[in-house]
């Protein structure tokens, strides 16, 4: 039986999920859903939203490691699957006696897709930004020379709170006696406001710096403590900007 149950009356719908008391469902909703065109729009709406978000994501993909998109993929995938279910259900699914379950499915689908959109925007604001550091120096690193690592100013929208630096020092000449296992490097930050100012690290290391809100170029001086006659070079200086 279709029709307005009237204000204040409890309604009892039989659905394939079992009996549902829907007294709380707003009267206007059922009034709206009386219209078959409106029911068709509501049934298709989750699919339109999911596809729209997927298209938006594809056009404005922030990039970076895929692992950070796991939540986005899960949410949008759930939203898409349930939205297809809504579309298949069609306007009939929003008709009594299954109207409540249908509406619930529409709500879940929209919620999942919007959650994915929120996740995407969060990644856009906080995603990790790979950044290459250049080495400013001529000749190898020895106990009496230093080199400067320079991180360029990040592009607009890519500034972050912290810098993670993956550093690898190798023998300047791999055919000469190896010194790597006898070498410790000292990293001294030359840019004000970046902390910690000094860190001692082994030849292969990963260190983090708090950029202190800095949005520009960062310079880090590298010196090595090694045995006499040893010459090393910076084989890798890969930075990652990130927020905590």
């Amino acid at each position: 039986m279709e029709g307005d149950p009237g204000p204040g009356r409890r309604v009892h719908f039989e659905t394939h999920h079992g009996a549902v008391h829907a007294g709380e469902i707003d009267r206007s909703t059922f009034t709206f859903l009386k219209n078959v065109d409106a029911r068709s729009v509501v049934a298709l709406l989750p699919l339109l939203v999911a596809v729209g978000i997927a298209g938006y994501a594809a056009l404005s993909w922030p990039g970076g490691p895929q692992i950070q998109y796991a939540g986005f993929y899960a949410a949008l995938g759930s939203g898409f699957v349930t939205s297809v279910r809504c579309a298949v259900m069609g306007p009939a699914g929003l008709t009594r006696p299954t109207a409540t379950a249908g509406l619930l499915l529409v709500t879940v689908s929209l919620g999942a897709s919007l959650l994915g959109l929120g996740g995407l925007e969060d990644i856009r604001r906080n995603r990790e930004i790979p950044v290459g550091l250049s080495v400013q120096a001529a000749g190898p690193l020895t106990g009496s020379s230093t080199q400067t690592l320079v991180m360029p100013a990040p592009a607009p929208g890519e500034a972050r709170d912290r810098l993670r630096l993956a550093l690898t020092l190798t023998d300047d000449d791999p055919a000469s006696p190896t010194c790597v296992h006898k070498t410790v490097a000292t990293l001294t930050v030359l840019t004000p406001g970046v902390t910690p100012g000094v860190q001692r690290v082994p030849a292969q290391s990963e260190v983090e710096f708090d950029l202190g809100g800095r949005r520009g170029e960062v310079e880090i001086e590298i010196a090595v403590q090694t045995r006499e006659g040893c010459a090393l070079r910076v084989a890798q200086a890969d930075g990652t900007l990130f927020n905590e």
Partner: protein
Amino acid sequence: MRGMRRRTPVRRAATTAVLLALAAAGCGADPEPSIFADGRKVRIGAKSDQPGTSHERHAGDFDGLDIAVARELLDRVGAEPPIFNGIISRNRAPALRDGDVDLVVATFSITARRMLPVKEGGEGLDFVGPYASTQQGMLVRAADLERYRTLDDLNGRLVCVWKGTTSADELRKPAYQAIRLREEEDAGFCVNALKAGEVDAVSTDQLILYGFMEAEPALAVVPGIAFAATNDYGVALAKGHREDCERLRDALKKYVVSNEWDRDVKNNLPQLPLERRNEARPTETEIDGASCRDRPANAPVG
């Protein structure tokens, strides 16, 4: 319970199949036999022309620091006494990779390239070491010793080095372009050329040079010339024997802190000054950092 009883034979069968598969995989893996297997004589490649470090006095009769180190380490891992074979510098890595020898103990410097696997562009060797460390030096005729105090005094002079050594690589660098080089096949040729007055000096590791100084009274090491990166000597073996390598490493760590190491250095290199001997002794941390690895380890950050 009936259901469980019904599944048990299936589980047993599955477990048996897995165990059989694992056993078959284990049998099929065909691990490298130990170099130190019972009754097996370890074949060692050693230099034959470097008195003090590695020298063949008569056919098959070797002595020197390398030989003493090899014997001591093999004794400590419970291996049979080894057989030594003469080897020249540039054949050290190929002889190991081709299986002509099991170990090379031949004043062989540990380098990043030598310890890198072949598939990564390296020479595919594992090292146990260092068992001694030394910088590069210069050997001259004793009569000419007064002429040489610093490396600059060698500018324009003819210096002999031999192929396949880090010492030869070092002197080819632009920093030493004022020094003229003559390259020979191995140490003996260079020393004979020095004695004959054909070259002004011979350059290689100081430990080797002090061995020549002991054997040839007409020659002398220039005391004030020690240059280039420290050469760390390692016992080399082809990759694929990591367990044997680690046994040797553990034995070496005990050996270098013992009186036996001092005894062996003093007996074989009596002319080596005490200061140089102290510099030659490696630490256990250095041994851990360079032994049985594909690339050197990180240094501890104190």
